[in-house]
């Protein structure tokens, strides 16, 4: 028993060391968001939170419509996450567990698309969206992001490891059709994988910036990251305290989503033990 306890202690010490490294820059964000811009650049650097948080937040709310843009971001991120979870897991289920003509070719094409640098697309995509009349609306952000190769690839790999053939066979014998197999056999088993994909998609949408910056032309109707980008000044006189306060507040919804999702990732631990 003594050995186990020592091992447990080493485990926690290593984990805590990792936590400190991970947390430090986040802590720094907190510190910077509570100082005025001039204080941020002073030496030696300030290690403890200061007293300018209220002031920074006040400036922030004056400069941009923080909650309005956050609401837009929320709509986009939730819609995309939901669509991605459904379309990606459905396609992944097909790629992971069924055989049909053209499967290899289609999969290879999908992986090829995944490897095309995303930076190529802005100008032609803008033209297409303009023709569709979607520019300036949130639709232009939601629709193109509704399914992606990353998520299909991830769910396929995850399903290969976790949906066992016996399960598929027995459900088939029970007379389950394709959709019922997906809904009643696959989804419950891959919940942790879905939770990860959900967190990741939500996060990526929340932080997405390059395309929204181009597609959202109406200044009163932007997402949070686009609004935050307007805070950076060109002539080097950016108010970093305010920028940091904005960055910090923008993180809060992400952390909430992560908390919910992380519970899902862990939820099946107990079931796994029974299985």
């Amino acid at each position: 028993m003594k050995g186990t306890r020592a091992r447990g202690l080493t485990l926690h010490i290593s984990l805590i060391a990792g936590v400190l490294v991970s947390l430090f820059p986040f802590y720094w964000t907190v510190v910077m968001s509570t100082h005025s811009s001039t204080e941020i650049f002073q030496y030696p650097p300030k290690l403890l939170p200061g007293s300018h948080f209220d002031e920074n937040v006040h400036h922030l709310f004056q400069k941009i419509d923080f909650f309005g843009s956050m609401f837009n971001t929320l709509i986009v991120a939730v819609s995309v996450t939901f669509l991605v979870l459904f379309f990606d897991s459905l396609a992944a289920f097909v790629f992971a567990k069924f055989h049909f003509p053209g499967r290899r070719a289609l999969f290879v094409i999908m992986m090829g698309i995944f490897m095309v640098p995303a930076q190529l697309q802005a100008i032609p995509q803008f033209v297409i969206m303009a023709k569709l009349g979607w520019i300036g609306s949130l639709t232009s952000l939601v629709v193109p992001a509704a399914a992606n190769a990353f998520g299909i690839f991830w769910m396929r790999q995850y399903m290969k490891g976790s949906i066992h053939d016996e399960l598929m066979d027995s459900s088939r014998l029970d007379g389950c059709g394709f959709l019922r197999q997906y809904w009643h056999v696959a989804l419950p088993v891959v919940r942790p994988g879905l939770a990860f994909l959900g967190i990741f998609t939500f996060m990526a949408q929340w932080n997405d910036y390059a395309w929204p910056l181009i597609a959202l032309i109406n200044p009163d109707h932007v997402t949070l990251q686009v609004a935050l980008s307007q805070l950076n000044s060109v002539n080097g006189t950016t108010d970093y305290g305010m920028v940091m306060a904005g960055a910090l507040l923008a993180l809060i919804p992400l952390l909430v989503v992560f908390f919910i999702g992380a519970r899902q990732i862990m939820a099946d631990l107990a079931k796994g033990a029974i299985r």
Partner: protein, 323 residues
Amino acid sequence: MTGVGAAPTLGAPADDGVRSVPARAKPRSVLGHWRLYLAISPFYLLFLCFGLIPVGFSLYLSFHRWDGLGSMEYAGLSQYRYLLSDGQFWNSLTNTLIIWAIATLPMLFIALVTAVMLNSAVRFKNFYRFAYFLPNVTSVVAVAIIFTSIFSTNFGLANAVLQGLGLDQVAWLNTDWGIKISIAVLMTWQWTGYNALIFLTGLQTIPSELYEAARVDGAGPVQTFFRITVPMMRPIILFTLVVSTVTGLQSFTEPQVLLANTNNTSTFAGGPGNSGQTMVLYFFQQSFDNNDFGYGAAIAWGIFLVVAIFSIVNWRLVQRGEK
């Protein structure tokens, strides 16, 4: 062009859920599988609508000269010929590969070990996962400010540690290797927790009976790790490797934020000697700083080719181990 070399391996996964299906199911026509095609169609439809035209446009662009506003001028293969003889492009390719190698491999290994530790920790699980995830969501501005101060020559944490160990200072952001290592450290910091989370998710699918059986057989933690964890996790490891390759070879934000302050005339220059200029940074420099969109498109296709080759090699290496 990706498919040629990869098709046989890509389509023949070794864990056998798939291959067994046709053996049992009656052969059916293409139409008989309509449900399956319908299920995978959304991705391909979206690609047709929003991806194919942009990709085709960029291909077209790469055979032209274009400043982004005026008329295009046909240039034949000259952009690609220039690419092949462009020392700065090859330099950016070398930089990208070096940074990718010194960032990705340690990162995935640390992530896997971290995930195993997280999985066996009983208390504070939620807190740990929360903390390890944070680097991935911390704002880029904050990360840039923090890491430039960590790697600053006289006041940086990195040099303070070196001096504590009795070693010389390193001008991190002013030397060839210093720049590459700094970028790799930044990437490792930002993505280790994320990968650990992926691995953790995969670890959940390993039946605990396997571990119990191993324990009964008297296997230690290291043996268990290599005999059970790694083989069972193979699909997930393959996933992280391919994704890290695709994203790592297209890295952009990390070098940009870290080196934007290095007295460059362009934020895409990648520091002294272009030592931290990755392929995508070079793409941006040519397209938007130099208004050379035709050449930018040619670079982008160069990037695609490199990414495809490396992903295929990785895929084959990992698949080979599977029996």
